[in-house]
């Protein structure tokens, strides 16, 4: 088993929480893991990404090679496309479609969305809206992670455990709302698959 995942978003949108959840789950599942993060200057509202690599055998590089990622998980649509050069031919994009606009020249959102038509495997939906519906606006990132979960090759219960470990210090209520978000995302993703 090998999963090379690019996590993408804007500083502060919570991609490191996605990374940590998968990381804890991977450790539970006894997998090897490497995860390269971005710290420092770029966290100030700039684009941020993380390379997350899981495998049942030892991993060499901390970085995923261009063209080799099995999945891009993004909490922002333009950020999903920024790393398209990492995606393999049969790779998946799981992305939030709600734009995070903090630059004056943000492209037209419909044009942006049309770019996803060129990628064979895409799960794209407004995760901010879903987070609002389940009254858990801060869990948008967990909804996106939930949507990615059917393609992760990690048992869903183990992934839930990973999320629980991440939010352990924040109490039962926070854990439960994040798990609910995770389940909601997974549900949306599985529904889309059926269509």
């Amino acid at each position: 088993m090998k999963k090379d995942i690019i996590l993408a978003g804007v500083g502060g949108q919570g991609i490191l929480s996605i990374a940590a959840s998968i990381g804890f789950a991977a450790v539970q599942a006894g997998l090897f893991l490497k995860q390269a993060e971005v710290h420092g200057m770029s966290q100030r509202g700039g684009d941020v990404m993380s390379h997350l690599r899981l495998s049942d055998s030892e991993i060499a590089s901390d970085l995923i090679a261009f063209g080799k990622a099995d999945m891009i998980i993004s909490v922002e649509p333009m950020e999903a496309l920024r790393y398209l050069n990492y995606l393999s031919d049969d790779g998946w994009i799981i992305t939030n479609t709600r734009p995070f606009i903090n630059i004056p020249n943000y492209p037209d959102i419909e044009l942006l969305k049309s770019e996803f038509k060129n990628v064979p495997n895409v799960v794209a939906f407004d995760a901010d809206e879903e987070a609002r519906i389940i009254k858990s606006p801060k869990s948008m990132n967990m909804i996106v992670l939930g949507a990615a979960s059917p393609y992760l090759d990690i048992d869903f219960e183990t992934l839930k455990k990973g999320v629980s470990i991440l939010f352990k210090s924040k109490g039962e209520a926070i854990i439960n709302s994040n798990i609910a978000a995770l389940e909601r995302g997974r549900e949306i993703s599985l529904l889309k698959e059926k269509v």
Partner: protein, 535 residues
């Protein structure tokens, strides 16, 4: 079974130091090294063991304090980003001459590709300059193990040891297996009472000792297992891969079966026998190293009249920037993938000042006064979040060179006749390297206006405590700035006019004035609010 932890490279180094009998860690924050010290500060174990870990004012004071800890016979670590090693260069190089008593490890975190830096200098060159052993881990486990080994050889040969990492290792997470904990050293003063007295006559003797140790350092590097020679069937090429570059090489061989002989380099000075063997048995040599072509230059030599060496100097590997698996594949001539293009619709998203950042109001009143009346190009600035005010929509500042350079460049510019000459510097940067420049300005009676943006934290690196906290007015007064020309402002929108007026008054004053704009960083403020709410 040994405990396994999921750690960043930085955290692995910190945990290793705690486990290896560390007594004190000294550092000034700097990406990508900050998390080492932060980890020790947050560690319960470190607290129980009484390991000291407060931030230092700058890398030089950190290095010297660590040397003091070493003098007392205890183990010390000092951490910095690569450019911090320039600030600490004086004590760093001289610590090689004094030698260590308790083990001392200097961690320099280099930043190839300048993710968060002003240059991509390679600390291995400074390690060689100081003539001390350099360790360069290829992964988090090795980083952990090397701290134990580093303290060992530091005490064995009485030498400081440089641990060189790069951003990618510093900020990448992997499982790390712990070793059993070692107790801290008891206090143990140097047997030679003159060891640390670098009077010329003594320094000359000590320097000879350091030179004599060079062969021991090479021997360590040949035999201790961090450098490895892997045999290969195909001798048409030999590959030397150092530190993290080794992983990029291996990534191209999923079954880990490389036809060529490979030297994995993780320790310096270079293992001469291994290099000799490769040079003799291979037709060509490819060098993969993240940073400067340090190994490549040494092997190639000034005359470059030996066999074909491929690397950053010859063009098979790009001359600058961070390596990755594709660069390694291209240099090996095995790259064949088709890579998708990033759609042209994707726009740049540069970092920017946060919404609600107090710096925004400060640069606004500076702009309000400077732009209509004076042409641009008069604001000398420094290193911190406010450097982002060089970008639209503010375009306030005109320089950012090194820690503290704002005030001193303004002095020179004023000497050359630039009026007004303004310096903009953050509170933490001011106590790092701005205070001495301010003293120059006072002694020079420079007609400059220094704006200290006091957000009460070291913001850019994630909100560490600032050494300046609670001291700024007294420092300025103590250095000799006249009290009536030290003005403290609140950078808020409602006071923009008033602040601009005060700034204008001080620009008109023909002498040194300091304007302190004081309001806490929005990030640390909201972090504290969150902690208060308990979530």
């Amino acid at each position: 079974m040994a405990q396994k932890l999921l750690l960043l490279g930085d955290e692995a180094i910190a945990q290793a130091a705690i486990d290896a009998g560390l007594s004190g860690i000294y550092a000034y924050p700097g990406t990508p090294s900050t998390e080492i010290t932060e980890y020790v500060q947050k560690s319960k174990e470190a607290k129980e063991k009484g390991i000291r870990s407060n931030w230092s004012a700058n890398e030089k004071t950190a290095m010297e304090s660590a040397l003091g800890m070493s003098y007392a016979g205890k183990r010390a670590m000092v951490c910095m980003k690569h450019v911090g090693l320039n600030v600490a260069a004086d004590p760093f190089v001289n610590s090689a001459i004094t030698g260590a008593n308790g083990g001392i490890i200097v961690v320099a975190a280099d930043d190839p590709s300048m993710h968060s830096s002003q240059n991509e200098q390679d600390s291995r060159a400074l390690g060689k300059f100081a003539l001390i052993p350099v360790l360069e881990p290829s992964n988090q486990q090795e980083a952990y193990d090397m701290v134990h080994y580093g303290f060992e050889i530091s005490e064995k040969y009485h030498t400081p040891v440089l641990l060189r990492i790069t951003t990618r290792l510093a900020h990448s997470r992997a499982a790390v297996e712990r070793k059993p904990s070692i107790p801290q050293n008891e206090m143990n003063l140097p047997k030679n009472l003159r060891q640390f007295v670098l009077l010329p006559a003594i320094a000359r003797r000590q320097y000879k000792d350091l030179l004599a140790h060079q062969q021991d350092f090479v021997k360590e590097s040949e035999t201790k297992g961090f450098n490895k020679y892997y045999e290969g069937i195909d001798k048409s090429l030999g590959v030397i891969a150092s530190g993290i570059a080794y992983n990029y090489l291996m990534e191209n061989y999923p079954d880990r079966n490389i036809p060529y002989p490979v030297i994995k380099v993780s320790q310096y000075p270079l293992p001469k026998l291994m290099l000799e063997k490769m040079y003799n048995e291979c037709e060509k040599i490819l060098v993969l190293e993240d940073g400067y072509p340090v190994i490549e230059e040494l092997i190639r030599g000034a005359l470059d009249n030996g066999k074909k060496i491929m690397g950053r100097l010859s063009g098979e590997v790009p001359r600058d920037g961070e390596l990755n698996p594709i660069i390694a594949a291209k240099a090996l001539g095995i790259f064949k993938d088709i890579i998708k293009n990033v759609p042209s619709i994707v726009a740049q998203r540069p970092p920017s000042l946060c919404a609600g950042c107090p710096h925004i109001e400060s640069v606004k009143f500076i702009n309000a006064v400077l732009n209509p009346q004076y042409t641009k190009g008069r604001v000398f600035s420094d290193i911190g979040c406010y450097t982002l005010s060089a970008l639209p929509p503010y375009e306030t500042i005109n320089s950012c060179v090194d820690m503290g350079a704002s005030i001193t460049m303004a002095i020179g510019a004023a000497d050359a006749g630039i009026v007004p000459a303004v310096a903009v510097i953050g509170d933490s940067t001011f106590t790092h390297s701005g205070m001495t420049g301010l003293l120059d300005a006072v002694n020079n009676n420079s007609p400059i206006t220094v704006v200290i943006l006091d957000n009460s934290t070291t913001a850019m690196t994630g909100g560490q405590d600032s050494s300046a906290f609670g001291h700024l007015e007294n420092i300025c007064k103590g250095v000799g700035v006249k009290e009536e020309h030290i003005r403290v402002l609140d950078p808020v929108k409602s006071r923009e006019e008033e602040n601009a007026k005060i700034f204008q008054e001080e620009l008109n004053y023909n002498g040194i004035s300091v304007i302190i704009t004081r309001r806490e960083c929005i990030q640390t403020l909201s972090k504290k609010a969150k902690q208060k709410r308990g979530n």
